[in-house]
Amino acid sequence: MSFWNDPLKVAADWLLGVFTGWGMPEMAANILIGFLGVLLLITVLMVLDIFLVWIERKVVARFQDRLGPNRVGPFGLIQPFADIIKLIIKEDTTPGGADKVVYNIAPMLSMMSVLILWAIVPLAPTILGVDLNIGALYLIAAGAIGTLSIIMAGWSSNNKFALIGAFRQVAVMVSFEVPMLTMLLIPTIFAGSMGMSTIIEKQDVWYVFLAPLAAVIFLIAAIAELGRAPFDMAEGESELVSGFNIEYSGMKFGMFYAGELLHAFTFGGFLAILFFGGYRFFGLEQVSPFLAIAVIVFKAFIGYWIIMWVKYTLLRIRIDHMLAFNWKFLTPLAFSLLMVVALMNALLANAPIWLYISGMFLSNVAVAWAALEIARSVSRREREKVEGPKQVVEVGH
Amino acid sequence: MVPLSWYLIFAAALFSLGLFGVLSRRNAVAILLGIELMLNAVNINLAAFWRYGNVMDMAGQVFAIIVFAVAAAEVSVGLALVISVYRRRNTVVADEIDMMKW
């Protein structure tokens, strides 16, 4: 067992030897090593988070035909550090009438709800925090803590805009949890387990080819869960100034902002794990765990890039349209897709692999087509109710 | 190893706290909070009996899940009632909601 094949185990064994050599009991040493592992993961994530700020600003600049940060350091790479220094030395205000304890806990919870997600992310076959057999539910549970942090921030700020923003955001998050959880069940059906590492190991064919519609719905629900455009009602700058984080300044605001970026990257990672094979890429993961990490980080960045692409392309949707879209379109679609996939999975259980894949793919396409047809006919009827039947405009008066 | 009695006494204490909340609070929402505490105490007992009894028999966990579903239903209907009463009477104090019909 060399370091290059299983770095975590080798490092843990080495540390165990060192600690017990100092006369520490084995159990205490193991707990200490666990803490060190968590510390390492969180440190790596926070450092990555600093660079996510730079990536986000560069990408949005390109989308908007600008250059982005380019003054500090090569390609503006030092810019995020300058931002951090600015955020830290800024005056740390607490609004009058604010609920101080709740106000200060909310940014921490927001960051925590993102960081705890990484406990179940398998970075390589041997490198993962914990292989929970209920990983899919854990994902939703972490989202619940994020919801709580937003409502705490909005309420404790003692500001109308913050409260309205928090209400909107919580309404969106709670309702989009339904299609999201439903879509998490589809990889669960394919893999026969909710554990993230089992889902990856079973993906000889990427699940996006088996259930493309599920991947799309998961992406939409994930963007809504993140509260990014086009679902960024909580921050609606034009009507709410800045939404739930309006009263936060300095590093407390920085926690919300960094938490959002890392959350987007994390959901890119989960999109990769659930539908794009995670760390698997043509057997590359067998060569070295470090290659596997590179593969999953690359895929996560692609997912993150898609989320950014959507954010900087689409306009904000009105809150009632958004909730109606979820409850009247996305949720029924998710439920019917789940039923179709479960039925097809049972019917094709013993079929050859090519028939299984094409059957799944075609049934997904059929469900998507039917849903779009129904949506189109309903919207046509709604339009006719408002405008009267469509009339042919005569040319040339 | 933690003996079963610790869990049972813990659950009994939580149940009594919930009972105190239900009997003593004036606000109807706070009364519902007390009911949640009592339901959670019951669930701790169910999970503890599952773990300390025959692990193969999942009855304890199944019952706990049914309790989750019932609690969710109870809270949604209960809070809807409270909000409806608040709209009509402009109060959520349980003592003041004393007419059968208005």
Binding site: - | L8, V29, V62
Partner: protein, 172 residues
């Protein structure tokens, strides 16, 4: 005292302390937030009891839905009561007495029971509680009927809640 017992005691004290705050805090939003920490303590208790599924569902259902619903309800119903006046009714001492008597009675009953000092057997190797639970919930020989009844109850509660909270005057 083993490590497991220390963990249990810390969790239990944290949970009971938050539970006490739930029933005594004057500010109702704080009471709802203390309820969240109580529920979290109970979730950790489930995890200590090796019921991982229950622990996660506790966080999803109770913290993610029920506690949020409570916070919403408190905010929607506090125009006039805004933490003024007594939060306890005038019979609160009787409630306290009854609660203490309930605890004492339960404690007394438990003292006389022989299975009290029982310790848990180790979970058999290869036993997957989540898979077993899933099988039992949908198997006709086990609990499929209560499961379906619970789902009907949830639908009924959903419809009922919407109907009750519907405001006919504003049409919303």
């Amino acid at each position: 005292m083993t490590g497991e017992q220390i963990v249990f005691l810390v969790v239990a004290l944290f949970t009971l302390g938050s539970g006490f705050m739930v029933v005594t805090t004057r500010n109702l939003v704080h009471a709802a937030l203390w309820l969240v920490s109580t529920l979290f303590g109970v979730a950790v208790t489930y995890a200590v009891l090796d019921a991982a599924f229950l622990a996660v569902v506790q966080v999803v259902v109770y913290i993610g839905a029920i506690a949020i619903l409570f916070i919403f309800a408190v905010m929607l119903t506090r125009k006039d009561v805004r933490d003024q006046g007594p939060q306890m009714n005038k019979n609160w001492w009787f409630g306290a007495l009854l609660a203490v008597m309930t605890f004492g009675g339960l404690y007394f009953l438990l003292q006389g029971w022989s299975g009290l000092s029982k310790t848990a057997a180790a979970i058999p190797a290869g036993f997957d509680a989540v898979a077993e639970l899933g099988n039992e919930l949908v198997s006709p020989a086990a609990y499929v009927l209560p499961f379906e009844v619970a789902s009907v109850l949830l639908v009924a509660a959903l419809v009922g809640a919407v109907y009750v909270a519907f405001n006919p005057r504003s049409g919303k």
